[in-house]
């Protein structure tokens, strides 16, 4: 029993040590994500003046970038709150919040960009943000996300499972006749 306890403590110590080593790397990687978001935000006025993005595109993409900054701030606060003693799994939870929030249907709806030229530019920034986010996630084996689609109808339709879950939550089950 004592041997098992010692082993368990050793394993937990190793995990704590891994988290301790990874936290500054995650902080730095999330900082780079923020730099990309800021670069894109700073580029918006120029893109509008030069006609690459329409006013509506600027509003939509600007909303996506602003939401990205908000999510990032939450993730950074989460990671900083853990400190250098944060475990890898706790760090992963912080990063996952950002990554999954970034590709949520609500956020993807902001990527409804009409003009093909604008789509290309917005896709560039969105891809860079996701690459940087995945880099941060890779450090602590958090969830990797796919680059969301930029286009006229970027928001994916709900899956059959999602519709089923929604019906269950609302109590709209065929078993009850509705």
């Amino acid at each position: 029993m004592r041997k098992v306890s010692v082993s368990a403590v050793a394993v937990l110590s190793i995990f704590a040590l891994v988290g301790c080593q990874q936290q500054p790397k995650v902080v730095a990687a999330l900082g780079v994500v923020g730099q990309i978001l800021t670069l894109a935000q700073d580029d918006l006025p120029t893109l509008q003046v030069t006609g690459v993005l329409t006013s509506a595109d600027v509003t939509n993409f600007g909303n996506w970038l602003a939401a990205g900054q908000t999510l990032l701030g939450q993730a950074q606060g989460c990671v900083n709150g853990l400190g250098s003693g944060g475990s890898a799994s706790a760090l992963a939870a912080c990063v996952n919040t950002f990554a999954t929030g970034l590709i949520s249907p609500t956020e993807q709806a902001q990527l409804r960009i009409i003009s093909p030229g604008a789509q290309k530019k917005v896709t560039l920034y969105v891809t860079a943000v996701v690459l940087a986010a995945n880099f941060a996630a890779q450090i602590i084996k958090a969830t990797q996300v796919q680059t969301p689609t930029v286009g006229t109808t970027p928001a994916p339709a709900p899956s059959t499972q999602e519709l089923h879950d929604l019906r269950m939550r609302l109590g709209l089950s065929p078993a009850y006749g509705y």
């Binding site: 790397k25 730095a28 990687a29 780079v32 730099q35 990309i36 670069l39 290309k120 530019k121 896709t123 560039l124 920034y125 891809t127 860079a128 943000v129 690459l131 940087a132 995945n134 880099f135 941060a136 996630a137 890779q138 450090i139 084996k141 990797q144």
Partner: protein, 83 residues
């Protein structure tokens, strides 16, 4: 299973095959595009689009053991999207 191809990369002339494999393996892991456990890194790397291979290789060549910057990710994104 096809024989994995070692992609053409902007490696220095003095780079040996062993070093190249090591660099590419690290590249796949560092770039965070594929998890290390996805398979033998070099084999998986050979299945990626050439532009992505080049982007990752360029990234790791320039920033081996360094934190990639925002400009690095934008450059990699440009290679991926053709922007």
């Amino acid at each position: 299973m096809t024989t994995p191809k070692v992609p053409a990369t902007p490696a220095a002339p003095s780079t040996t095959a062993g070093k190249l494999e090591s660099v590419l393996t690290t590249a796949v892991q560092v770039a965070g595009i594929l998890a290390p456990e996805a398979g033998p890194a070099l084999e998986v790397f050979g299945l990626l689009e050439p532009e992505i291979q080049a982007g990752i290789a360029a990234l790791i060549h320039r920033f081996h053991n360094k934190q990639p910057t925002a400009q690095d990710f934008l450059a990699l994104a440009a290679k991926q999207t053709g922007a």
